[in-house]
């Protein structure tokens, strides 16, 4: 809904949206998209291994999944600090209000996803396993959901206007 609203506001202030969009670094956005896609891929591999009862391999790919998420957060922090430095904060204009609200909301989900993955990782590595495959699949679904949201956010915020 917010992305649809953002597109509507673009029709009201096309110049502001275009110049603001050009102030974003699309290379960072592209690299971040690749981080999340690769991370989602590792998550899928991890679930497949766990279904085959290969816990060690599953655990390794779960770590790689989390690494992808962490790299995403590192790059996002770099991007945010640069935006704040040059004064492009949440109240700068309508475009940046949407940019901050949508991307921060997504970042919060990524952080929550990482916490879930850490808990799943601890759960599957315990001697007395209490984490079921359904729990892992639920965590994976949340992680893929973060991926899916970003796949819609990225082209609209970084590339479209």
């Amino acid at each position: 809904m917010a992305l649809v609203a953002m597109t509507y506001y673009d029709t009201q202030e096309p110049e502001i949206f275009h110049t603001s969009r050009l102030q974003l670094n699309s290379t960072i956005g592209t690299v971040n998209t690749i981080f999340l896609i690769v991370s989602g891929f590792f998550m899928a591999v991890s679930v497949r291994y766990l279904k085959k009862d290969e816990v060690k391999k599953s655990s390794l790919f779960l770590k790689l999944t989390m690494l992808g998420g962490l790299l995403f957060l590192v790059l996002k922090t770099f991007e945010y600090s640069h935006k704040i430095e040059i004064g492009l904060t949440i109240g700068y204009n309508t475009f940046f209000t949407f940019y901050w609200l949508l991307t921060l909301f997504h970042v919060i989900h990524v952080i929550v996803g990482l916490v879930i993955l850490i808990s799943v990782h601890i759960g599957i590595n315990k001697k007395k396993v209490i984490t079921k495959i359904e729990d892992v699949e639920a965590g994976a679904a949340f992680w893929h959901m973060c991926d899916l949201i970003w796949l819609l956010l990225f082209p609209i915020i970084y590339l479209l206007f």
Binding site: V4, Y8, S26, I37, M43, L148, L159, L160
Partner: protein, 95 residues
């Protein structure tokens, strides 16, 4: 320990390379992301259609192959496709 990691990671990555469907999906997703980034830099007519189109293909790729939605009940597949249809139509009509 160091030796273990040096052997384990490349070995497992090699096994992952054998997972055909996942690898093909990953390659397409990365390729589409790069093409979308390049498309936005070029001044092409109707670039918006292409960018949204790429996003939709990536969305379907992740949900069907990474999330294994293809094995889910038809209700979820249809629900996702309806969502995508409404989303795309809204963005393209308003924009």
């Amino acid at each position: 320990m160091r030796f273990d990691l040096a052997v384990t990671i490349p070995y497992n990555l090699f096994i992952v390379l054998k997972m055909k469907k996942l690898n093909i999906t990953l390659s397409i997703l990365i390729l589409l992301t790069i093409i979308a980034a390049i498309t936005s830099e070029l001044e092409i007519k109707h670039a918006a259609f292409a960018l949204i189109g790429f996003a939709i293909i990536k969305f379907i790729g992740v949900s069907f192959f990474f999330m294994d939605l293809r094995k889910a009940h038809a209700f979820w597949k249809v629900a996702m496709l309806i969502f995508l249809l409404i989303f795309t139509t809204s963005i393209l009509l308003i924009g």
